[in-house]
């Protein structure tokens, strides 16, 4: 579903993404993990053809993203990092607008399904600018899945959602993958990856430092948090002792 080879994006001196190779098969729920500023959002923007890579190749749905980014965005669903639906449309009007842009027919029922799923109630007639951030995130989630894409690319899927909605979204994503869909999520919250992902990649300072399935024996022996901290800590030049010391310190504070 996603094939990436030698993908890099440089901004002057900054290497936002540096030589990433990645392959994600149909039916996977892949989680790209990494600390803040490690290159996750840049990866997503390149995969969706919003920005061009400095070098490397990338195919989504078998389509070269560089050659036909519009076709890629037609086929997939995307939830961007920031929830910014147009201010002066209502939630309902925004979903209708997206459906029109995607040239969907008979979309009213699909929109209604999502409003019910997220329990919008009266809020679907409120202007997007007046919605809370959580509600706007729900709206962005709905627009990404409105056309029932086979692949969804999501930047921080559960951010701003309350625990009830988080649970609903997690269940939906599990079911979606079970029915043959593919999901690429980026997050820095390890629990999310642990709960729902089938495979993960860890990106640090633009480099993909680990990829594997969550049932990988290397991961089975440790918990994901320790594994992540060890991997990132090593590269940051932080020894295991220091990490343990800091953990002790945190426990003492707690």
């Amino acid at each position: 579903m996603i094939e990436v080879k030698g993908l890099s994006k440089f901004y002057r001196q900054t290497k936002a993404v540096d030589g990433v190779d990645l392959s994600i098969r149909k039916g996977e729920l892949f989680g790209l993990l990494g600390p803040n500023g490690s290159g996750k959002t840049t990866m997503i923007k390149m995969l969706t053809g919003q920005i061009k890579p400095t070098s490397g190749t990338l195919k989504v749905h078998g389509i070269n993203v560089l050659e036909d980014p519009l076709r890629v965005r037609e086929l997939i669903g995307v939830i961007p990092e920031q929830e910014t639906p147009p201010s002066f449309l209502t939630a309902e009007e925004y979903l209708y607008f997206v459906a029109k842009v995607r040239k969907m027919e008979h979309y009213e029922e699909a929109c209604e399904k999502w409003f019910e799923f997220f329990d919008f109630g009266d809020q679907k007639t409120s202007l997007c600018k007046d919605l809370s951030r959580g509600t706007r995130q729900k709206l962005m989630f709905a627009q990404a899945f409105l056309h029932e894409p086979e692949l969804a690319i999501i930047d921080e899927p559960l951010i701003n959602l309350d625990p009830v909605m988080q649970r609903k979204v997690k269940d939906f994503l599990r079911g979606y993958v079970k029915n043959g869909g593919t999901v690429f999520i980026s997050t820095h919250i390890l629990e999310i990856a642990k709960e729902i992902c089938t495979s993960i990649g860890i990106i640090y300072r633009g480099k993909l430092v680990y990829t594997g399935r969550l049932d990988d024996p290397e991961l089975q022996d440790k918990n994901l948090e320790e594994f992540f901290l060890e991997l990132v800590g090593k590269r940051k030049g932080i020894s295991k002792d220091i990490l343990e010391e800091s953990q002790k310190g945190i426990s003492a504070l707690a």
Binding site: Q50, P86, S87, F88, L89, E93, F97, V101
Partner: protein
């Protein structure tokens, strides 16, 4: 205490320079200086039509308005800021997380606005005017003391504008209804004044009165108009505005149905809802377009009496074309491409959709011009309409090429502003000269159509290549 003030100045500078580019924004006061200088060089021509006092009146009211606009943007423009900068916030809106009072922060905010915009707008304006006064006979404006007084009184006008808006925004924060009552009372007062209207009323702005006839009383009154609203606003400060959540029925679907299978139906429907529901709505069309047009018509009619060779109707069509291009700003004001970049859309699709809405909005000036031409002189109808349509198309094509989907931001970049002026000013000057030789010379402007289409094509390719700046 001074730290917050310094940080706010830095913040304002960085906000502008991140939006418009460092060198581009640094050049902005230079362009205000040059622009004022060149416009002031034709002061002797203006003084044939209007008096020195009328020129001073125009300047003082412009800066009163600028003060109001700066204040309105700083205090009420949170929606715009949120769309540009996402979750980032200004110091003024972060008072709850800082260990200082909101009053203290907002007092600094006001001080910052006064100092910052004095350097950005007022100083270069007066400097450009002062330099031009050395080269042309400037009458009463030539004396150094007069120019220094002008610097002071324009600053006072600016501060009156800011403090008035600060006061109104505080009233609004407490109650939208009280604000409505205040505005109603002000309208009744204005109605009463206009009943007994005489020109002197306009000159009662204290800063202007002080400029024309310096007196302690006027200076004192200016101080009261600045300090009292500001002090009241700080005493009754409330930074959260009432957010009544309004419900709207689905007008988008109705509009789309009405527009049928038209390719840009969804976008035109969205743009019309943006215009209708955003601050201003229909008022924007009246106050930002129709009323300035009335003023322009009055001024051009006066000019036509002084210089009979100039055709009022042709010049009006020209100005109409220029003013119409500002409608493109309205249409792009609340949109940034990053809100759509994840959908199957190119930047050029968005621009094309905005141009479709622009064409529809241009029907308003088209109707105004047609009616006016039919009433004044039907012989001028075809040339005037040609001139208006071609100038409007050319102006918007230059705007699209230079500024893409963000004209209200990119035009503040000094280099872009200079390019814009160079692209349009010679053409406008040529048209003014040609208009003296008869209306049918305007048909030459038909040549602008292929030029404009070529520029638009280049603009589409340029903005498609450009990676979206996500603030």
């Amino acid at each position: 205490m001074f730290d917050i003030f310094k940080s706010m100045i830095k913040e304002e500078w960085r906000m502008h320079s991140s939006l418009f580019g460092h060198s581009g924004f640094a050049l902005f006061p230079v362009f205000i200086f040059l622009f004022t200088f060149f416009v002031s060089l034709v002061l002797p021509v203006f003084r044939e039509i209007v008096t020195d006092a009328q020129i001073a009146l125009g300047m003082h009211y412009i800066f009163l308005l600028v003060g109001g606009m700066v204040g309105a943007f700083g205090l009420l423009g949170r929606e715009f800021m949120n769309r540009r900068f996402g979750q980032a916030s200004l110091i003024a809106y972060s008072s709850r997380v800082l260990p200082v009072s909101e009053r203290f922060i907002f007092a600094n905010f006001l001080g910052k606005d006064v100092v910052y915009y004095f350097i950005l707008y007022i100083l270069p304006f007066v400097a450009g005017f002062a330099l031009a006064a050395k080269f042309v006979p400037a009458g009463n404006f030539g004396a150094s003391a007069t120019l220094l007084t002008l610097l002071l009184t324009l600053s006072i006008s600016f501060m009156i504008g800011i403090s008035a808006i600060f006061f109104l925004s505080t009233v609004y924060a407490h109650s939208g209804k009280i604000l409505l009552l205040c505005l109603l009372a002000a309208s009744l007062l204005l109605l009463h004044i206009s009943g007994n209207f005489n020109q002197g009323t306009l000159y009662s702005l204290p800063s202007l009165s002080f400029f024309l006839v310096p007196s302690e009383n006027q200076l004192l009154l200016s101080g009261v108009l600045i300090l009292v609203p500001s002090a009241l606003s700080l005493i009754f400060l409330k930074i959260d505005f009432p957010q009544a959540q309004k419900s709207f029925s689905n007008s988008f679907s109705k509009l789309c149905r009405y527009l049928g299978s038209y390719r840009y139906a969804a976008f035109v429907a969205k743009d019309s809802l943006d215009l209708k529901r955003s601050e201003g709505g229909l008022g924007k069309l009246i106050f930002s377009f129709v009323l300035p047009l009335l003023l322009v018509w009055t001024l051009l009619s006066a000019l036509g009496k002084v210089i009979p060779a100039l055709s009022t109707l042709t010049l009006f069509a020209l100005v109409l074309g220029v003013l119409s291009s500002s409608m493109y700003n309205w249409l792009t004001e609340y949109d940034i491409f990053s809100s759509y970049a994840f959908l199957p859309l190119k930047a050029s699709d968005m621009i094309k959709s905005k141009l479709n809405s622009y064409l529809i909005l241009n029907l308003v000036p088209l109707v105004i011009l047609t009616l006016l031409a039919l009433k004044k002189d039907p012989m001028f109808l075809i040339p005037s309409l040609t001139l208006f349509l071609t100038i409007s198309l050319y102006m918007v094509s230059v705007l699209v090429y230079l500024t893409g989907l963000s004209p209200s931001i990119n035009l503040y970049n000094g280099k872009i502003f200079a390019l814009y002026m160079l692209s349009v000013m010679p053409l406008l000057m040529l048209n003014i000269i040609l208009s003296m030789f008869g209306p049918y010379y305007a048909l030459m402007d038909l040549l602008l159509i292929p030029v404009a289409l070529y520029i638009l094509g280049k603009g589409f390719r340029k903005w498609d290549r450009n990676e979206c700046r996500c603030f």
